[in-house]
Symmetry: C2
Subunit: 244 residues, 2 copies
C-alpha cells in the first residue's frame, strides 16, 4: 500500500509520499512515488502515485519517453495544468486498458495519481486523477487530496488544516498525518519524500528524503505523542451518567 | 457503515457503538448496534455488531429466541465466555450460510461482532468474531478491538491507550477516537451508545446514549480540536532542508 498527500494552499504547495511497496508480506521494497518535472522559471509539475507499481511506472515511463523523443503533446509543452491533468489521465487509462480490456480484471491494475504544480502566468493547481482517467481539482474549500492509506491521517488534516495556513505549519500538519499513519499501518513505511513549493517561484524543489533516523521527524512524532497523552488527561472527566 | 470499539482493561471494559446504518445514501437510519445480556450478580455479556443489518438482527434474534424458548445451550447457561463466543460465532456462520451457500456471494451478508463480558469466578474476556464464525481474543498487549470504520479512530488508540489506564481516562480516549471518526466519515453517525463495566461487579450497565447535543461530548470534542491546533503550533519549525 501507499500513503500520499498533497496540499494546495494560499502560499504554495506541499507534497509528501511514503516509499513502501508490497506484493504480499514477502515482497516489501522501497520505491519512490513522487516525481518532479519542470522548466526552471516557467513550470513545476509534481506527480504522486498510489496503486499498482507496474501501472505507475508505465505512466511515468510514457511521460518521460514523450519528453526524450520530443513527442507532442508532452508534459512540458502543454499550455495549462488542466491539459497536463488530461494528458496524465489519458496515459493512465491507456496503460490500464493495455493490460486487459476486462473491466472487472482492470481493478487489479488500478492506480491513482495526484498531479500538482504551476505554469507561468497561471495559478497553482492540484488534481486527483482516477484510474478511469477522469479527475477532480482542489479548491480553497478542499485544499488537500490523499491517495492510498488515507484514513488514519485524515482526522488531523480535517481538524487543523486550512487554506490560509502558513506553509511551514501546513507541512508540520501533514508530517503528523504521516506519523499517525506510519504508526497504525505497516503497509506505509519510511523513508518519506517531501517537497515544498512556494507559489510563483517556478523553482523545481530538490525536496527532502526523511529517513528513519531523521532528527526533526523523530522529535515532532515524539512531541505529538506527548501532546495527545497530555491533552487526553486534561479533558474534563466524564459525567456520572456515562458510568450508569 | 458503522464504528464500534471495545476495550478490555485492568479495571473493566468500555464499549462504544455508533447507530448509523445506510443502504446507499438515501436509506440512512438509526439502529442500535450494542446489545446487553446477563444475570445480575452472575454474568454480563455485551455484543456489538458491524456489517449487514439483516445478518446482525438475525444473530441477535436467534440468541434472544433461544432464551425465550429456554433452549439449551444459550448465552446465559454456557459456562465460560469462550463458549459464549463459540455459540455467537456458530450462529453468525449459520445465519450467513442460510442466505446463500455461494461463498463469493456470502460476503454481501457479512457482519463482524465484538463479544465481551464476564462470568462469575472468571476473568473478563473480549472476542472479535469474524463472519466465518472463528474469533480472536483481546490480551493485555492488544487490549482493544474495533469493527467497521476503524481506521480514522485508530491512531489515538495506538498512541494513548494502555491496559493499565484508569477506566475514565480510557473512556475519554475512546470517545475522542469516535469524535475523530464522526468528523472524517459521514457513514458513522450520532447518537452513540456507551457502556462502561467495572470488573467483578457483575452489574449489567444501563449505559448512556450520547445525543448530538450532549454537553460533555461536545465540550471534549471542541477542547480536543483546540489541543491539536495548539499542539501543532507548538511543534518546532521544520529545519531548512525541508524546504530545499
Amino acid at each position: 500500500m501507499t500513503y500520499c498527500c498533497a496540499l494546495r494552499l494560499e502560499q504554495g504547495m506541499v507534497f509528501i509520499s511514503d516509499t513502501r511497496t508490497n506484493a504480499g508480506v514477502d515482497h516489501i521494497s522501497v520505491f519512490r512515488k513522487l516525481y518532479t518535472f519542470g522548466i526552471p522559471g516557467e513550470r513545476v509539475i509534481v506527480i504522486q502515485a498510489s496503486g499498482n507499481l507496474a501501472t505507475t511506472q508505465a505512466v511515468i515511463g510514457h511521460i518521460k519517453n514523450q519528453l526524450e523523443l520530443n513527442q507532442e503533446p508532452n508534459i512540458l509543452s502543454l499550455h495549462t495544468m488542466f491539459e497536463v491533468a488530461e494528458l496524465v489521465g489519458r496515459t493512465l487509462k491507456h496503460v490500464i486498458e493495455s493490460v486487459t480490456t476486462d473491466t472487472m480484471e482492470q481493478s487489479n491494475y488500478y492506480c491513482s495519481l495526484l498531479v500538482g504544480g504551476q505554469i507561468a502566468g497561471q495559478d497553482m493547481q492540484l488534481y486527483h486523477i482516477y484510474p478511469q482517467g477522469n479527475f477532480i481539482c482542489a479548491t480553497s474549500d478542499t485544499p488537500y487530496f490523499q491517495i492510498g492509506e488515507s484514513k488514519y491521517g485524515k482526522p488531523i488534516l480535517d481538524r487543523a488544516l486550512s487554506y490560509d495556513m502558513p506553509l511551514d505549519e501546513a507541512l508540520r500538519c501533514s508530517l503528523i498525518s504521516f506519523a499517525s499513519t506510519l504508526r497504525s499501518n505497516v503497509s506505509v513505511g519510511m523513508p518519506l519524500d517531501v517537497l515544498v513549493y512556494h507559489k510563483d517561484t517556478f523553482e523545481i524543489p530538490v525536496g527532502k528524503r526523511i529517513q528513519e533516523d531523521d532528527e526533526y521527524f523523530t522529535k515532532i512524532s515524539k512531541q505529538w505523542s506527548d501532546t495527545l497523552k497530555k491533552g487526553l488527561q486534561e479533558l474534563p472527566k466524564p459525567t456520572l451518567d456515562y458510568f450508569q
